[in-house]
Symmetry: C2
Subunit: 507 residues, 2 copies
């Protein structure tokens, strides 16, 4: 059926058909139609919603995410017909039934993911099936290659190309802000694409956005990296391994990170930017994604073997993830801490040492430093001011102010200090509770929101001494966070009462 | 935040917020908000989409499915705030991790399903998790009770109340059109709720709709049954076990019928209408849902045990499901066939015998007939014209024409006869292909579309003799079906060429 386009400013996928036209095409709510732009030949499948009034007969409403792919102008006459059932659904069913997916089947699924031919529910079925019936390493390799092939790729003229990745779960893990400038200052190239926080309090992209733009195309990433040696951008804007964003979105409600999808997602992004030297940070800790050293080593071996299959050198660093890295959680607070260290501060040690270790591994893997001397070289680059100089170049090329100082960044104006209710050692910090608290205060959307820690695990505090400060940009969010903090008790001090049971419960 | 309602005529769930308001509330696309109608106190969670133009700042667009629950008028001021994460998601995650759900956890999930607090993707995760990690009988019982409790229930003044159900998969299975009037004519009550076809060519509700209205409330079902002894209505309109419709919708893309959900769905509907005598038809066949007698017996035992837990007497009939029941597939064609039998026709035997057997079992279970005499009593009711008399009462009470005759129903005007390409016995009929073909021709939406079989399995046909006729209401659908038929070859005749391999492939 031929229908005239009417763009609808609704941030969603799909098309809105008049009920009469829907019947004419032979589709019901939730069915798929194929929509073809006659001017550029682009054809996409779109899910149908229906109306009697908002789009008139003869007109097709196109929601904005769908038109981002089609580029249709109002009034364009387009052909709309019932779309077939995607073959992907049979392959997803196969995985539900415990089968092993071939390379072609995996590619078909990922192509359909990228072209929006699968609904969120259908993609969820794929993720849940792969979560329960885990992908083996062949399937993970297929998935990685499929993610690479369905997106843009960067080909640098020369190698090595370095990259790093943290699998996450530890709040305050701002180390890319140190590692990237150190590596780039050493003369190596590191085109770092990073994520925005999904379940965290601030992804590296959220942090970098405090200082500069982070949305660039793949070719801009390449040009900037060729020029200054490194960038820190948001991967979501590059169209590199775009399937991953949609997968992560569907994982979000269940707070899962299906192992196969996670391995593939990390390695696809590294492969697609042309990296051949990759350091992966696997934080280990009770309240992080990987609880034990044993699980961490297993995951490390999988990353390394997957790397071998893709001709990439991979090393994994199992790091201490029981407590936050550094003292700050939330975009602006973390940026302030990182800038201070780049400006010369020698604290906090946990943050500096972790960054130098990871940078050191990459320096050794690339041959810049001999075995055992990488961390010292990284330290040297930091201490001599070469890292801050490089970071300013990176900020400038990404459109930020290269002269920015840590004191220029102002966290949220509403804050509240939580004092220790007793004297004793800090015996526990709960990562998940700290993240929840920072998010309640508004992080990462409100970049000034977050938590500043005054005492870390093992420190002796006196009653009434500050444990941490909550920051927020909006007072109601601060109040909500204060309330939440009372319930969550993210930091425990020896001798602190966990609960008080009234005497009436004695019998 | 206080916002003014603007109803949006879009057949979907959710709300459309202006981007400024979304930011003020602190939500992004895809997040949940809680929306409360101040006039009736109804509160629902709704998923957010955003716009800059279609709803102005201060206004909230409400999609029609969501407003079917809220009943908000344009301009009403309502409170909108960020909604919490439903606890259901943790329980679904538990099932993904192989855990066993408690009664309370199951009820929480089903409550959220019914109140639209879960997205389609989240519900899909529950279904896929239960498909891969099957529910045990405790969990199925919890699910059944949860489905009953979250919908309306009918309490008849006296028992027994009879019900029947076919688990489906066999085309042309129109037996309810015979069984219900026979049972009701015997003096028993049978308030039959049935489904519309999801993956089939015509559900019982689609068939009955050719003759009368099928959308009634639970209390109307009760009143009509009290009056004439039986009804054949669409379950989806009654608000009986409403969770089931949403579950089936999410299963549709994968053509699955997760065992636990299926057991619970069938038994919840029977329990909720007050039935205590239930006959379940389990068709066995290569191209149906249950392939072997062994699987059929296992499923039968589960139905019976679940029935015991719910104080219902259940018997299962394992029936021959390898080929269609009767000679017609598609709403109008099936209704014509059923009416002819009720009017006195003694063919087709497969349809009549199956209907009498199932009605007979119910007559025996209820004590109307002694063991071994049920089918004969059913035959007697049919032959003496009591069934057609009762069926006319049922049609009339459901608002149809009680004087309708089989010759009044006219199938689709476009038709095409498929002749046998060779002489020999009909050796195979593929149910799935026949269903696909009938659907391609337009069934069940186009009620006149379908297939009339002229030869069934085992019949000797001569070359050029008709095998089947395709019917459609629209010519383009007929052409599509003819094309599809060539590819699918739903009926195989001995000696028919399946494919022709050119000689060049010999080496």
């Amino acid at each position: 059926m031929k229908l005239n386009v009417k763009n609808l400013d609704i941030a969603s996928r799909g098309v809105l058909l008049n009920r009469v036209d829907a019947r004419g095409i032979g589709v019901l709510d939730g069915d798929r139609v194929q929509v073809i732009n006659p001017n550029n030949g682009v054809s996409v499948a779109a899910f149908v919603e229906t109306t009697s009034t908002i789009t008139q007969q003869g007109t097709i409403g196109v929601y904005s995410f769908t038109n981002e792919r089609l580029h249709l102008d109002d009034g364009t006459g387009i052909e709309v017909r019932e779309a077939g059932r995607p073959a992907s659904l049979d392959f997803i069913k196969k995985k539900m039934d415990g089968g092993k997916l071939t390379k072609e089947e995996t590619l078909t699924i990922i192509k359909d993911v990228v072209s929006d031919d699968l609904s969120g529910a259908e993609l969820t079925a794929f993720i849940v099936a792969s979560y329960i019936n885990p992908l083996d390493l062949d399937e993970v390799e297929h998935l990685t290659r499929a993610m690479v092939e369905t997106g843009e790729q960067i080909k640098f003229a020369s190698r090595p190309i370095v990259d790093k990745h943290s699998i996450g779960g530890v709040p305050g893990n701002k180390i890319s802000l140190l590692v990237v400038p150190i590596i780039a200052a050493s003369g190596l190239k590191i085109p770092k694409t990073s994520s925005r926080a999904i379940t965290g309090a601030g992804g590296t992209a959220d942090l970098m956005e405090v200082l500069a733009k982070v949305e660039f195309s793949a070719s801009e990433v390449q040009k900037m990296t060729e020029k200054v040696g490194g960038v820190i951008v948001w991967g979501g804007a590059t169209n590199i391994a775009p399937a991953d964003d949609r997968i992560i979105l569907q994982e979000y409600p269940f707070k899962i990170d299906a192992r196969g999808q996670m391995l593939a997602s990390v390695m696809a992004k590294k492969f697609a930017v042309g990296a051949n030297i990759v350091v992966i940070d696997i934080p280990i800790g009770q309240h992080t994604k990987i609880a034990t050293m044993q699980d961490g080593r297993k995951l490390a071996r999988e990353f390394i073997e997957l790397g071998e299959r893709l001709n990439m050198k991979v090393e994994c660093a199992l790091t201490y993830g029981d407590i936050p890295v550094g003292r700050s959680i939330g975009p602006k607070l973390e940026v302030i801490e990182a800038l201070r260290v780049l400006e010369g501060a020698t604290e906090p040690n946990s943050f500096i040492q972790k960054s130098l270790s990871l940078a050191g591994i990459a320096l050794e893997m690339s041959g810049k430093a001999s075995r055992g001397t990488g961390a010292a070289m990284a330290q040297d680059i930091l201490t001599k001011g070469k890292a801050i100089e490089k970071f300013r170049q990176i900020i400038e090329i990404q459109g930020g102010d290269p002269n920015v100082k840590s004191s220029d960044i102002i966290p949220g104006e509403h804050n509240f200090v939580v004092n220790s209710p007793s004297s004793g050692y800090v015996i526990e910090m709960n990562n998940r509770s700290l993240i929840t608290l920072a998010r309640t205060a508004g992080a990462p959307q409100d970049s000034g929101a977050g938590i500043l820690l005054h005492a870390k695990k093992g420190k002796l505090v006196k009653v009434g001494e500050p444990l941490f400060t909550l920051f927020a940009e909006r007072n109601w969010r601060l109040q909500k966070a204060i309330e939440e903090g009372r319930r969550l008790m993210p930091i425990l001090v020896e001798g602190m009462l966990l609960d008080r049971v009234p005497s009436s419960s004695e019998f």
